[in-house]
Symmetry: C2
Subunit: 687 residues, 2 copies
């Protein structure tokens, strides 16, 4: 704890200034703190020496009931105090679908908003907002995820009864995975193929009651259940729903964009002038979801890094190789270069993701304003960028959370450290809301289209016009890219030089990928060519996102933005560290050597970079506590015996361990009770 | 399932031939199969449509009791049938310390064997072998892991009573983490500082009874408990022990190498001529443990890859980008290049680890024979290699298991997939039995010593003499390494060329790391210099291990070794894929670009490599089922709804889900029961 105080005292800046930057303004910092305090107080989580209930070895049911308990308090607080602090992040800073009531306000509500008629919206939205119902978003099926057109559940219209029959005809068509669906929802949006008069009109959305409001039992014609234990999110009941000829009224179809008449006639309403067509609005919703995921994983990674930082500050273990044999004191593990390096790399990544998210938010707000004026020109670019950012941020954060957990050694492997739960919940983001390998491809398809348009003399989106122009330079003559002009040490480590290196590297990678694809197209179908070149293309997409992220990070380091010189200096160091370590230890891809391979950097420059990284690590070491404290996590939200602010690791870990219910002795008695002595116990006369 | 049959039919070799290679001979294959069948039958695990009990949402106690049940059956089978198939790998192919009885036969037994007197061995070893007792190995403390000298628990000799008093003086000295210690052990080896007449003689080993053999309650003076839920290994009770002035007889000290006389006089016995000194025997034990870990993680990664392969073969999802819009059929995900690439990379890695383990075993057996003749010359090299292999294999396998799980999307995140458990258990190996960053350092310290000896004209170990000679070439004149002579396409992809590239790359990296360290030593202490250069040094160690691993892999592809031409061809392709993908997508390190950076490969050659990788992927695609089937995993050991041999993924996943006890309805009733209606349910009048 003494070590922890020293680590804080060494900071070169005031961490609360950075907290305000992270949460945008002081008012939000205050409001969030107040909301966290109320919720944690109501849940009895304020005493950080008390074993958190979720770690008490609960079974599936116990974990779910604890999730309900937490969700109730949070929902109450949000409705009572009229805020949305927990809409995406819950009280443990995990993404909202760790709560069985989380989807009600997100996917469930939004789909009705987007696809409901005026009457449907008038009725359902207030039911939702006051939580008189709780909704799930049931799209994914056992056999169908990303590819929505593959959905098999049917909604067949019956003219005689004026109803749809919702039915799952096969095992693969069972709805599987929707958050809250297992035990917690009274209603669900169900994606199903609309069939009238024997004709399949494709997938449409239906609002369906799935449980009785009297006793909460599943309605007749629906089988509901939970998927069992997951790596994380066990406080909610991701579930399955098997529809067996469930009849629902015709009004169940969300009918803003397509209607079924009383006689079964199907018609699609034209998008009215001045409003956004459905497809574009669906895109916008996806954008919104993805930007929230990007922001959330910044917090997830920061949580893991905060725990690892605090543990590394107070954990003393062993001594440096070759150190004086007489030296008896052990060394704090943060002082080992490997730990020091890994920790600061993760901290830098968490800020890189956060600032990329903020920059995207800024662009998103602009887009929303433009779309209100019927200008959708930037939607394709924004959609592509959102896929790339989502894929990149969730990949980085997931690997980083794992790394942070491993940095805490054996103690990190135990649930009490809080790290397995954080690792699991961050890891899930690589899959949900668009599997990352699908996301990367969508970005590259967009970039290829822009290159092709540019080559054909057609319009290129304004956001990438200059960038694609640079790509074409490498395309047209196949020349090696020009070296960055000046490479004396001072300039090499300049922010703008680094951004330029990232830009040129990604342009070269994109040109190479596009050339391969184009050449391959001459020999095979476009689909085969795409598949053959995929790994190179994905590497180009990744390089593009890393360039964008670096640019976003650089902007945020400027004193004109931070309004605090010491904060700016620390962030500048962190920016350089992020840029340079991504060069020396690139994100895994099929072209990980591309900084070197493309002749952008010489071996000598790489050596200079390694030396400079060491200098940056030294400069940043005194700020590790401040850079992690700045995220303003409460002890309860970290929920970690290793990561509380006071650094009192050992006493807390021991105390929590001793409070575990299994240690009351019953487990041993149960294991023992069938035995008639020690030999029987081990050898098991009764298996 | 049709797809699964096709995938098997396309194989170019007979997988059972590869099975024999994996398990060394046919007799072992048969014996293992028989043992698995007996055990799975006794445990009721043969019906693969039945939900495995461990997935039924058990609480901490339930998971432990299931672990006891499994351990009893396994132990019975091993004792009854006199085999050791489950000594390191249990019936789920996880490392032995997933069983509460696992340490009895390993660390507990070995320490007595190594450090017990003749009398102590005579008494204890037969107690252990017949499992009349069950032992833990209690070394690690809450505050002390890798650094044994830091251990705080004391064993103070009292002349009056002729006893030692075992005591934990601080929270950090509480024994924390030993396998089985929580609920399952009657005895423990306790590492404690031996104190006589006020003098501290350092850490010694004591054999201590910790539970009554009558009722299994902890003996007076010991508090025992479990650490709670972990990411994996929840079938055993990693535990803590807090000694509070526990008195044990003087005979508790394992006294082969140090004794305390009746009057408290301490003396260390000299190592007798012709026997191995204790320190060397301890090293040998560590070697043995590490080689087993390396082998085990090959199986762990192969399990994850097998599940991902089978799922990828039968999972159909979406269509290729740019594919014909009229095309209605979905595509099996194995056909997407990214999935295809990732899967085969993982399969190649699992074989690379296995063959490296086999090669190490071969060297180890040789060493044991030499040591029996008092020749310990190869011990330092073997110890260094064991540290490097352990660090490398566990890093690769852990990242690979995570990758395999992510490749199964959302379904991989659910416990029923079996992947979270495999991922967690493989991941733990990066930490236990030597934290990987400590391991890497030990390897590099050894390599540096050899370089220094060579520079000083002193003896260099025979195993690395030629290698270190090559390192010195780069050291003496600082010259760029000579390019590999011939680089026409055929030669570039030759096995021996690839091994040479790896060798030269690692020599160059080691020379660079050593130079930096040596230069830094002129400016600071050796310890500071070591720390400053650590990241570069670790990268050099990693490059060295990758060279050794590649060499081991190549040897195994030869028809003279496999005795089967089609198997040799498939393994050769896999070898090339491993070598080339490790070049294009290097293992993350501080010098990931080192293949390119050191001028070993030109950009044109890298492009050729990428093209060749694509060809290899195409050649290997028909063999994916065979390459994973060859590991001969039983359905029950994979314990995965996604990975059973028949490929009947969806029906099994749905069936297991419906069998989950939580879906019997109690969870909903419990959540509902305090409510007086839907609004109360959600809004929680009763929190």
């Amino acid at each position: 704890m003494d070590l922890m105080q020293q680590a804080r005292a060494s900071s070169t800046f005031n961490p609360t200034k950075l907290t305000v930057i992270i949460y945008d303004n002081e008012a939000t910092v205050r409001a969030r703190r107040a909301a966290f305090h109320r919720v944690e107080d109501a849940l009895g989580l304020l005493d950080n020496m008390k074993l958190p209930h979720i770690y008490s070895g609960l079974d599936r049911e116990g974990l779910y009931l604890e999730g309900v308990r937490r969700a109730r308090v949070i929902t109450n607080d949000m409705i009572t105090h009229g805020h949305s602090h927990f809409q995406w992040l819950n009280e443990r800073y995990q993404i909202c679908n760790s709560s069985p009531f989380g989807m009600n306000f997100l996917m469930f509500r939004r789909t009705i908003e987007l696809q409901g008629t005026v009457e449907q919206r008038r009725y359902w939205l207030q039911e939702i907002d006051q939580m008189r119902i709780n909704g799930a978003y049931a799209q994914t099926e056992l056999g169908h995820g990303t590819f929505v057109r593959g959905i098999e559940t049917t909604a067949t219209f019956d003219v005689d009864t004026d109803t749809f029959t919702i039915h799952c005809p096969t095992p693969t068509s069972v709805k599987y995975w929707p958050g809250g669906l297992g035990f917690s929802c009274s209603h669900a949006i169900v994606a199903a193929r609309l069939i009238t008069h024997g004709k399949d009109h494709g997938v449409h959305m239906f609002i369906v009651q799935i449980r009785s409001l009297e006793d909460f039992a599943p309605v007749h014609g629906v089988e509901l259940g939970d998927l069992g234990m997951k790596m994380a999110y066990n406080g909610t009941c991701n579930g399955y729903a098997r529809f067996n000829y469930l009849r629902v009224p015709r009004s169940s179809l969300l009918a803003a964009h397509a209607q079924v008449a009383r006689d079964g006639t199907y018609c699609q309403a034209q998008a009215k002038v001045g409003t956004l067509p459905l497809s574009k609005r669906v895109y916008s919703t996806m954008l919104d979801t993805r930007r929230n995921i990007v922001r959330c994983v910044a917090f997830g990674l920061a949580q893991a890094a905060t725990i690892a930082a605090r543990y590394s500050i107070v954990r003393e273990q062993g001594r440096l190789m070759f150190s004086d044999a007489a030296e008896e004191e052990e060394t704090a593990i943060i002082k080992y270069k490997s730990q020091h390096y890994r920790l600061l790399s993760l901290i830098a990544q968490s800020y890189a993701i956060l600032f990329a998210a903020k920059d995207f938010d800024f662009r998103y707000d602009q887009l929303v304003r433009e779309q209100e004026n019927d200008d959708h020109a930037r939607l394709p670019f924004m959609h592509a960028l959102s896929t790339g950012l989502k894929a990149w941020a969730t990949t980085i954060a997931s690997a980083g959370a794992t790394e942070a957990r491993k940095m805490c050694g054996g103690h990190g492997f135990v649930a009490l450290s809080g790290l397995p739960e954080i690792e699991g919940s961050v890891s899930a983001t690589a899959t949900f809301e668009g599997e990352n390998y699908v996301m990367w491809q969508q970005l590259v398809v967009y970039l290829f289209k822009q290159v092709r348009a540019s080559c054909a003399g057609q319009n290129v989106d304004a956001e990438v016009k200059d960038y694609i122009g640079g790509v074409r330079l490498y395309l047209s003559d196949g020349a090696s890219p020009p070296r960055i002009q000046s490479c004396d040490k001072k300039t090499l480590f300049d922010g703008s030089t680094l951004v330029l290196i990232y830009k040129k590297r990604s342009q070269r990678a994109l040109a190479a990928a596009y050339s391969s694809y184009r050449d391959m197209c001459n020999r095979s179908s476009a689909a085969e060519a795409w598949n053959a070149c995929m790994m190179t293309s994905l590497a180009a997409g990744q390089a593009f996102v890393e360039y964008i992220v670096l640019e976003s990070f650089m902007k945020r380091t400027s004193p004109s933005v931070t309004r605090d010189a010491p904060v700016s200096q620390a962030l500048s160091h962190l920016f350089s560290l992020f840029a340079l370590t991504t060069i020396t230890s690139p994100t895994p891809s099929f072209a990980a050597g591309s900084f070197v391979e493309h002749g952008l950097l010489t071996p000598d420059e790489l050596n200079e970079i390694r030396v400079h990284i060491n200098e940056l690590l030294t400069s940043l070491l005194p700020n590790i506590a401040a850079l992690t404290d700045a995220w303003d996590f409460t002890d309860s939200s970290l929920c970690s015996a290793l990561g509380c602010k006071d650094g009192n690791v050992y006493e807390r870990l021991l105390s929590w361990t001793r409070q575990l219910p299994a240690n009351s002795g019953r487990a041993v008695e149960k294991a023992w009770e069938a035995s008639e002595g020690i030999e029987e116990f081990f050898k098991a006369s009764r298996l």
